[in-house]
């Protein structure tokens, strides 16, 4: 089901009928739910009628990508490139994480936020680093995601890797309204204080397990989605179409690794922090009310680059490569190291392998 050599679709009768019925009812629905559609600009209407990603013809895909680029330009005042580069044949991505090296500094977390245009407020982070005590081992009931790390502000090696940006000085009317609304004051867990210059990692007698999407070969999240908004690509990456997801969050209930995150509010991304190198199925800006998660930096890895977390890791704990290539580093690890996968008993078959390199 590779994206590039999709057979060009003929306009058969059924499809034509389906489309016209769809338009008619769509218009009816559009008239019936004006409040929900929050105004009916052309953008909203185009969004409303957009087809599922896998059903777009090459021409439709092209105009869709162009539209997204225009929207980005308008919203962030920055020109961006939204690609939809398909999977390369003969590639199945796999990830290795060396538990004996990871020091729990959370640099990967912030590099990921930056690379993938994650919302800074409310803060969404695709990687969660859990601290475990060596005595108890990996027991999730004992995991501490809120341990204190020095943070990248305090003498971190890479200054470009900064903490979530401060809120813009000028509050918009809507932001003021949100701040004035008492019910929106519930804290997000990610706003808990987990970083301070006085903190030191690794703490003695502790070890760290960063967890993000495990890109399961048998992904329960894909199985449950009622609208096929999420699927596994030929290179093994599980992706989400943010323009198709209805935000039911069934996939979040089904994911055994807490990898999926929901846009509870309008994601906020300061223009100066926008990473302009985007992929439709990856790091393009998300919308309120949809689910997102790690995509192995699809915008990088499909162009032969390493994921951002691999590059930033100061101790080289992160490895990435093609599982189908017998000479790849990831294959070497699988063949020569002690490897473990999380929640083996659920048969999700993660392509994210934790190993002991030392």
């Amino acid at each position: 089901m590779s994206l590039n050599n999709k057979p060009s679709r003929q306009l058969n009768r059924r499809k034509f009928l389906g489309d016209s019925v769809k338009s008619a009812l769509g218009i009816a629905a559009g008239l019936a739910v004006p409040g929900v559609l929050s105004g009916c600009g052309t953008k909203e209407i185009e969004n409303f009628f957009q087809k599922h990603f896998l059903e777009l013809s090459p021409a439709e895909l092209k105009s869709l990508l162009a539209r997204l680029e225009r929207e980005n330009l308008k919203k962030y005042g920055k020109s961006t490139v939204v690609s939809a580069k398909p999977a390369m044949p003969g590639v199945l991505f796999g990830y290795g994480l060396d538990l004996s090296r990871c020091i729990g500094c959370r640099r990967c977390v912030h590099a990921c936020v930056k690379e993938n245009n994650q919302s800074r407020d409310p803060a969404i982070q695709w990687i969660r680093v859990l601290e475990f005590s060596k005595e108890k081992g990996i027991d999730f009931a004992e995991a501490n995601p809120y341990y204190c790390a020095p943070g990248s502000g305090a003498g971190a090696a890479d200054s470009s890797n900064k903490l979530p940006a401060a809120p813009p000085p000028q509050l918009t009317g809507e932001q003021k309204q949100i701040l004035a609304d008492p019910v929106s004051q519930y804290p997000l867990y990610k706003e808990k204080e987990t970083e301070g210059p006085g903190c030191k990692v690794p703490r003695p007698e502790h070890f760290y397990v960063p967890i993000s999407c495990q890109q399961c070969e048998n992904p329960p999240c894909v199985k449950v989605c009622p609208v096929k908004a999420t699927w596994k690509e030929p290179d093994g990456i599980v992706v989400i179409d943010y323009n198709w997801c209805i935000g039911c969050r069934y996939c979040m209930a089904a994911c055994p690794y807490g990898a999926r995150h929901f846009n509870w509010a309008e994601p906020k991304l300061p223009s100066e922090d926008v990473n302009p190198d985007m992929h439709y199925l990856g790091n393009r800006p998300r919308y309120r009310g949809v689910v997102e998660k790690c995509t192995y930096c699809i915008q990088r890895t499909r162009n032969g680059r390493y994921p951002a977390c691999v590059e930033i890791c100061p101790v080289g704990a992160r490895k990435f490569g093609n599982l189908l290539d017998p000479n790849s580093e990831i294959r070497y690890i699988l063949e020569h190291k002690r490897v473990l996968i999380l929640k083996n008993d659920l048969a999700t078959r993660p392509k994210f392998f934790y190993f002991y390199g030392l």
């Binding site: 019910v183 449950v224 009622p226 209805i246």
Partner: protein, 409 residues
């Protein structure tokens, strides 16, 4: 045009009523307006105005949805005993049951709508307009069976009301097959809803095969509980001819259903505590609270209510006494509402899959939206019952009249 006349008649019936009727409608109206205002705020700001977060990604809305699917299912399942025991006003049992089912289903659909992040993309759930993940996703099954069940009930109720209004006898050849289909569909909607939770391996608290039977057993308590009270009211104000024996029989059946429900619950508790694996923590959240969770504060009163109701309905003396019978109904409502609502959703999601405990309690927005949805449901039910009342009365003037299912059928 009889249909236009029928609609006109409906409106004039709705506009007539005593001061209690208007007070009730006004009360519901206030709650509906408040709910709509709260939902508008949610549309403006996103689901951040609820207390749900990534760790507890479903909450009060989905809990209410689950409970109401049970009500919708059980209201119609009551037709089975009505048929077996030859209750005299079986048409009324069918009619009221299906009307309750319609109201409950409207509430179910509204609860799902307010819970999803992109209600504007609702059409993606349906064939032609969208891309339903059928048959793999249980949620797309649920959409299918709930829609079918809704249409079925709507057809039966409109048909009965319309023929009643025009004074014609309904055609049993049309009606009986529809009613007979609606019974297995009632069971199927609740089974599918149970499977929706049941199929999630990531959540051990839900991943128990006993869930679907438990759902059916508890539904068979909560649905009839509301009908028992309603039958009594209608008997008083509208002269519905339902015998005391029928009410006692329903109570007796509820006692059995409650026994099965409590037994299955006990079986689940035994398995959890005796095997004492790491999965026990979810049951601990349900029963004793872990790290500040609050559900257990409701679990024990709810269990006590269920057990008390069971005893009240088991002892012939208390099940025939109207005070204790109605008390039992209220207790059952409380018991099942807690068990199927927050008692199911919260321990299922807390702690989350990585062991974190996020203490969820619904926000004001969630309470207001939920109260609004319940009010819409009650309003629909009130209006439906009001149209049905004259038709049910009409039967008194036509004693030779109408029996839906003949005993020898």
């Amino acid at each position: 045009m009889p249909i236009v006349n029928f609609l006109k008649a409906c409106i004039s019936i709705w506009l007539k009523g005593n001061k209690y009727y208007w007070a009730w409608v006004a009360f519901l109206g206030v709650l509906i307006v408040s709910g709509i205002a709260a939902y508008f705020g949610q549309i403006m700001h996103g689901l951040i105005v609820t207390s749900m977060r990534d760790q507890v990604s479903w909450g009060f809305y989905i809990g209410n949805f689950t409970f109401l699917v049970g009500v919708a299912a059980a209201a119609v399942m009551l037709v089975i005993p009505a048929y077996i025991y030859h209750w005299e006003p079986i048409k009324e049992v069918v009619l009221l049951g299906e009307m309750l089912a319609i109201s409950a289903l409207v509430m179910c659909m509204l609860f799902v709508t307010v819970d999803i992040g992109r209600p504007d993309r609702m059409l993606h759930l349906f064939p032609i307009f969208g891309k339903p993940n059928f048959p793999v996703s249980l949620l797309s099954w649920d959409v299918l069976v709930l829609s079918l069940y809704f249409v079925l009930n709507l057809v039966i109720v409109s048909y009965l009301l319309y023929t009643g209004f025009t004074g014609r006898h309904y055609n049993a050849k049309i009606l009986i097959p529809l009613v007979l289909i609606s019974i297995p569909s009632a069971i199927s909607i609740h089974t599918v809803t149970a499977f929706l939770y049941n199929g999630i391996v990531a959540r051990p608290f839900w991943n128990a095969s006993i869930l679907a039977p438990r759902f059916l057993a508890s539904a068979f308590c909560s649905g009839p509980a509301i009908l028992i009270i309603l039958f009594q009211i209608l008997r008083k104000v509208a002269g519905l001819r339902i015998k005391d024996e029928a009410l006692a029989k329903i109570s007796e059946l509820m006692a059995y259903a409650m026994f099965i429900n409590l037994f299955l619950f006990g079986a689940e508790m035994f398995k959890e505590y005796y095997s004492h694996t790491e999965h026990l923590i979810y049951t601990k959240v349900l029963l004793f609270g872990v790290g500040g969770t609050k559900v257990h504060l409701f679990t024990w009163p709810a269990l006590a209510a269920s057990v008390t109701a069971f005893i009240l309905f088991l002892v012939p003396k208390t099940r025939k006494n109207f005070y204790t019978m109605n008390l039992g109904c209220l207790l059952i409502w409380f018991g099942v509402y807690t068990e199927k609502g927050m008692g199911l959703v919260i321990p299922g999601l807390t702690p989350d899959t990585l062991g974190e405990i996020y203490v969820y309690a619904p926000s004001l927005t969630e309470y207001r939206v939920a109260a609004g949805i319940f009010s819409i449901g009650f309003l629909i039910f009130t209006l439906l019952v009001k149209i049905a009342m004259p038709i049910m009365k009409m039967k008194e003037t036509n004693p030779a009249g109408i029996r839906l299912v003949k005993p020898h059928l």
